[in-house]
Each structure stands twice: as C-alpha cells, then as structure tokens.
C-alpha cells in the first residue's frame, strides 16, 4: 500500500511541508511511545504509591500473548485484546497474592516487584526459549517526498490520545473513577462512606497491569519478542512518570510531549545517543527544579495540597 501526494504542490513548499511532517511524525512517534510506556506505571504509582518494577514484564506478557494468539490464527485486534486481558489477569492474581500486602510500604514494594520482574524474565526464557518469531507490522507504508513512513506507527499517537481520553472519562465520569479518587485522597473516609477500598485497589492494579499489557500488545508487531523486552520500555516509563508526577490525568500528556520534543529534536540533529542523553538530562533537571513533577507543580500553583 503506497500513497503519494507529491504532485499536488510546487517543489519548495512541498519540501518544507515534507520536512515539517517528518519532524511531526517523529515527535508523535516518541510521544506515543512515552505515553504508552508510562500509562500503566503512572496509574499504579500515582493511585496506589506502589513502584512497580515489574512494569516491563507486564508489557512483555501483553506482547507475548498477542504474538502467540496472532500466530495461532486470531485476527490482530483480538490478539491484542487477549494480550491486554492476559496482563490484566496476571495483575489481578499478583495483586491478590503479593501486592496487597505491600500497600504504603514503598521500599518493600520495590524489592518485591523487582523480584517478580526477574522471575518473569527468567521464567519466560526457560518456558518459551530465547525468542519467538515476531509479527509483521500491519498496514504497509506511505510515501511523502523522499521519506516513507509506516502507517501503523502513524496511528499509534492517535491511539495514545484516545487512551488518555478514555482514562480521563473513566476517572472523572464513572462511579469507579469517583470511588477510586476518593480512596486515594482519603482511604479511611472513603471506607467510612461505604467504598470497598480493598476492591478498588485491586481493580486499579489490574487496570494498570492491563494498560501495560496493551502497550506490549500495540508494540508487539514492531519489535523483537524476547524475554528481556520489558527493559526496552522501563527506562522511558520511569522517565515519563517522574517528569509527570503523581497525578496521571494532569501530568502524563504534558510530560510525554515535552520529553518527546526534546528527544526528537536532539535525535534529528545529533543522532540517537544525544537524544537519549537529552532525555535523561531533562529528567535530572526536572527532578531538581520540580521535585513533584509537572502535576505537582500545577497543583501547587493552583493552591492544591
């Protein structure tokens, strides 16, 4: 599949537009990656105060189930749904068995989830071997001037925005959202008013795990499926969440946008290495200047807690 609009415009304008689109595509691509990496982690951290170091392995779980069910003959969207649900289910079980005992024990939760991450990586290596055959990226490519772009990757930013919108709706408009925000603000009071806080924690953790699974599912057709693949996501996940701060709805999108802009600009001019360095430098500066991230800063300015 190839489309071209090259014959619609005169050359000079065309070149400028193409360059502008190429930069925008790159920006949107980084934005999507950062948002999707950060979502699940941000919800679990922001809502529950649990730092989930097994986040990358939930992503791996989503990707593996997607690849395996797509190869078993399921159409890709259903395979992705399977991956998302599988990661959510694993999250539900782990919350019941382990995470439940670790709420408000920050350091214990770090050690426990790190152990889970090691077990998952090594377990997958033993069960499924060092790699499984990947999927082909769907939808082909389109051409613009001297560039050609993957259609699928051009869609990922839209999916990221849709997800952000859906989560906003979930937390602001639904009963679950209101209960869960009440629980986060004051668990004792929420309990006194009849909210089942234990169930809300469990649902929130499951949601976070399922979102990580969805990230794995969405990127499964674009990257190599290996047991260590979670590590490719984990740095970006933490970077985005640290810059965002605790409030997902407020901080995640601006955080991803700022980081994506810095990274794409640097990577375009100076290559991937400088792009990565720029990303990490930004985090250091943000942690120094805005220790509670973008959302903490916004809340403070508005006279919040």
């Amino acid at each position: 599949m190839r489309w071209s609009i090259a014959h619609f415009l005169p050359h000079a304008q065309m070149t400028f537009l193409v360059e502008a689109y190429a930069f925008f595509y790159q920006l949107a691509d980084s934005f999507a990656f950062l948002v999707l990496c950060g979502l699940g982690l941000a919800i679990i951290f922001g809502m529950m105060g649990v730092i989930n170091l097994a986040h990358g392995e939930f992503i791996m779980c989503g990707a593996y189930v997607t690849v395996l069910s797509a190869r078993a003959g399921l159409p890709l969207p259903f395979a992705m749904l399977c991956g998302t649900l599988a990661a959510g289910l694993v999250g539900l079980i782990l919350e019941f068995l382990i995470i439940r005992r670790l709420y408000h024990r920050l350091f214990d939760s770090i050690v426990a989830t790190w152990a889970l991450s090691l077990i998952a990586t090594q377990g997958m290596l033993i069960v499924a071997g060092p790699s499984i055959e990947g999927l082909k990226t769907p939808f082909g490519s389109f051409e613009l001037g001297e560039y050609s772009f993957s259609v699928y990757r051009a869609l990922l930013p839209l999916i990221a925005l849709l997800l952000l919108g859906a989560l906003y709706w979930l937390f602001v408009r639904t009963r679950f959202g209101i209960y869960s925000r009440a629980t986060i603000q004051d668990a004792d009071m929420a309990r006194a008013l009849g909210a089942n806080t234990r169930r809300i924690y469990s649902q929130t953790f499951t949601l976070g795990a399922a979102l990580a699974g969805l990230t794995g599912a969405l990127y499964a057709p674009t990257i190599t499926a290996v047991p260590t693949m979670g590590q490719a996501f984990i740095v970006q996940s933490f970077v985005t969440v640290v810059v965002s701060g605790a409030d997902v709805m407020l901080g995640l999108a601006p955080s991803a946008a700022v980081l994506a802009f810095i990274q794409s600009l640097l990577a375009k001019s100076y290559g991937q290495l400088i792009g990565q360095i720029g990303l990490l430098m930004t985090v250091i500066i943000v942690v120094r200047v805005l220790p509670k991230g973008i959302s903490g800063w916004v809340l403070q300015r508005n006279g919040g807690r």
Binding site: G129, F149, S150, T224, Q231, K268, G271, G275
Partner: protein, 415 residues
C-alpha cells in the same frame, strides 16, 4: 565395595594382581583427574539468543571427545557459569574459575565489552583463554586465542562486493560500544580505499529499540548500501521497523543472521536483501556441515538455530585438544606455546581452520549469505581460506614478542 570409596577400591585393585582387563581401564580413568574447561557464556539476558547454541556446541564437542577416550587419556569436564550478559558477572566468574575452580582453560564471552572486561584478569593470571566469537579484531594477546572471524575476513570481502553490485554511497548504523565503533572504522576505511563515500554514520546505544528517527536520517541520505552493525535484542527491532517504513535499501552486516538468526525470527520480508559474511551458518550444505547438524540436532533437538558462533565454539574445543596433544601436557604455558607454534588445525563444520602463530587468530572459509524476500538464504560467493592477516601486517607477532593489547586501524602497535 559398598563400604569402601571407589578410589580406595581402585587402589586395592592396583595393589592386587587379580584384575580383569575391563577393570583396569576403569581404574585408569579413576586415577586421572579430568581436565577442567571453564566456560563463561550468557545463558540469559540480552545476548542469550545467540549464545545458547554456543553452549550446546561446547557440550557436543566435549561429549564427543570424552566418548573417544578424552585428551591424553583424561576426560574433559565443563564448569559453566551463566554470565547473564552482564560484564560484572563476567569478571566475578572469571576470578572464581581461575582462583577456586583452578580451570585448565577458559572459553567464553559474546560481546566485545565482556571480553575486554575479563581479558585483564586472564592476563594477570596468565590464563589460557579462547574467545570464540566474530568481533572487531585487533586483540594481540599472548594468553588469548580467537576462533571467530575478524574484519579482514568479513569486511574486506563484503564491502567491496556490495559496492561493486549496488554502488559507492554507504551509510553505517552501528551499536555504540567498542565492537560497533571499531567495525565502523573498518567499513569507513574500506569504503575510502574503494573510492566510495560515507553518506552517513550513526552510533546507537544498546538500549534503543525505537528507530523511526534513524530511518528518516537514512532516507534523507539515500545510500546505495546500508551497513547495519546492530547488536542485541533491542536493536534487532530495527529490521521490522525499517521494513514497515518501506526503507528498502540493500543491507550489509557482519553480525546479523550468522549470530542471532534474525531471518528465522522475523516475518519476511524484514531482512530482504541483507548480505552477511559469516564463517558458518546452518544453511551451509556440505558433508561436514550436514554431519555436524545431524549430530547437533540429535543431541540438542531443542536448538532453534545452529549459528556461526556454535561452529566457532565447537572448533575451539578441538583446537584446544590439538594443542594439548602437541604439548603432551595440560600445563598452560606449554599448551599456549604449542597452540602458537603453527600447524594447529581442526576440520570443523565449515572446513579446515588453523591458528595463525602471529596473531593467535584462525583462518576461515567465508560465506556470503544473501537473505531473499521470503527469508530463504542463498550463498552467492564463497572465499576459501581467508587468513587473519591484519594484525601480522601491522606488527603484531606473538611468536616473537609477547603482547596484551588490542589494536585498531587508528591505534597501531609501536614499531
């Protein structure tokens, strides 16, 4: 016999005169301690994909040799630690093998970073060490023997062939550590020698798995040949991403296909028109290769792909055996002298390989592997018996002068 230990039993047999022939053989085996082979390879982590076949290959060679009576009448015993693709683990386990296990020889390391992490430890202990991996070349070290292919074997063949076929504009993307940097320097020099131009060069950190910016940079530069020196599972994602963006340039590499069998793992046509020079891949058809594959798969039916480094690991064990037999001893200094004395060869899966006394590297038959659109492979060219000549020509001669350095085209030995 139940109460006595086997050794005491053996001694009493030796002292006695009534011993059957079969029992004598078993007492002989009990009397000689096994030769201890230390193996440091990544069974888990980023490099496990390419390394697991190597670990099988060591085991295969050792079992074959033991079944035929061992070396100098002694059995071989493997002591393997999983180095987890982690350079610190390499150092820790290298020290343990030398100091506690007191191994007679060490085989191991996949990445050049891990080899350089343990080479100083080997040198300090004067430990005999085999590195069995293709790499960026240049290690001139009295204690080290290398069975993998080096740039003069992989690039001096590949790059001119590619430029002849596709054109003179070359773009390199390489993993950002010693392997990628030095290999890229080789490519740059050969392109210049052949009258071509480098239209771009980018070094990519090992943690990167997202390549859309790199893909755009390449499209803007419009090379005739794209040299990909990408390493590890993260960077392998480049191929699917470049295919989905329809990048469509012919690619050349010294690391892909032959190590982590990307053509088997990725959906076609992600690796379409990838050209690789390797001293072995499973697709090589010859009586020696077919026989090797049959024995390998009979013993390890789970192996996903028998790669180039599996052949190198297998050859390394046999080269060590040849060295010990020539030395008539497992004393490390004597074995090193024997291995470096010339004429140490083995007939491996890709044919005869011999150790070059000057550089301690091995000669190889080099296959040009071409991955087609459906990911099947053909071999348009074979270069026979390519010598690891470069170190010798720039002044490394371990048969005359001891050394412990790594040289590069821009860092030559002092005359």
């Amino acid at each position: 016999m139940n109460s006595a230990s086997p050794i005491r039993f053996a001694r009493s047999l030796l002292a006695g005169t009534l011993a059957g022939a079969s029992l004598l053989i078993s007492t002989h085996a009990l009397a000689a301690e096994p030769i201890k082979l230390g193996i440091l390879e990544d069974q888990s982590g980023n490099f496990a994909i390419a390394v697991i076949p190597k670990i099988y290959a060591y085991q295969l060679a050792v079992d074959e040799i033991n079944a035929k009576g061992g070396v100098l009448g002694r059995q071989l015993k493997i002591i393997h630690y999983d180095t987890q693709s982690d350079n610190t683990r390499f150092q820790e386990f290298a020290r343990r093998q030398i100091q506690q296990d007191k191994v007679d020889v060490i085989f191991g390391a996949f990445s050049s970073a891990s080899r350089e992490a343990i080479r100083p430890i080997m040198d300090r202990a004067k430990q005999l060490y085999f590195y069995n991996n293709q790499y960026e070349g240049g290690v001139c070290d009295s204690n080290v023997f290398v069975t993998g292919a080096v740039p003069e074997q992989q690039f001096s063949t590949l790059i001119p062939w590619m430029m002849e076929k596709y054109g003179k504009k070359v773009y390199t993307i390489a993993a950002d550590y010693n392997f990628g940097q030095i290999s890229a320097e080789w490519v740059r020099n050969i392109v210049k020698e052949q009258g071509g131009t480098m239209v771009g060069e980018e070094f990519i950190p090992l943690s990167v798995s997202q390549f859309s910016q790199t893909i755009q940079n390449i499209q803007k530069a419009k090379p005739d040949v794209l040299v990909t020196l990408l390493v590890g599972a993260n960077q392998a994602s480049f191929y699917e991403q470049q295919a989905s963006a329809n990048l469509n340039f012919p690619m050349a590499s010294s690391v892909n296909v032959g190590q982590a069998y990307e053509h088997k793992r990725f959906k076609a046509p992600a690796l379409k028109d990838m050209y690789v020079t390797a001293n072995y891949v499973e697709e090589v058809v010859s009586p020696a290769s077919d026989d090797f594959k049959k024995r390998f798969r009979a013993k390890f039916p789970k192996v996903e792909y028998i790669n180039q480094e599996a052949a190198n690991a297998y050859d390394a064990i046999y080269l060590y055996k040849a060295g010990v037999e020539k030395a008539g001893s497992i004393d490390q200094a004597k074995v090193k002298a024997a291995l470096g004395s010339g004429g140490i060869c083995t007939d491996g899966p890709s044919g005869k390989v011999c150790i070059d006394p000057k550089s301690h590297h091995t000669s190889h038959r080099i296959y040009l592997i071409h991955v087609k659109a459906d990911h099947s492979v053909d071999i348009p060219k074979v270069w026979d018996d390519i010598q690891p000549y470069w170190l010798g020509t720039v002044g490394c001669d371990l048969s005359k002068k001891a050394d412990q350095s790594q040289y590069t085209p821009s860092n030559l030995p002092k005359k």
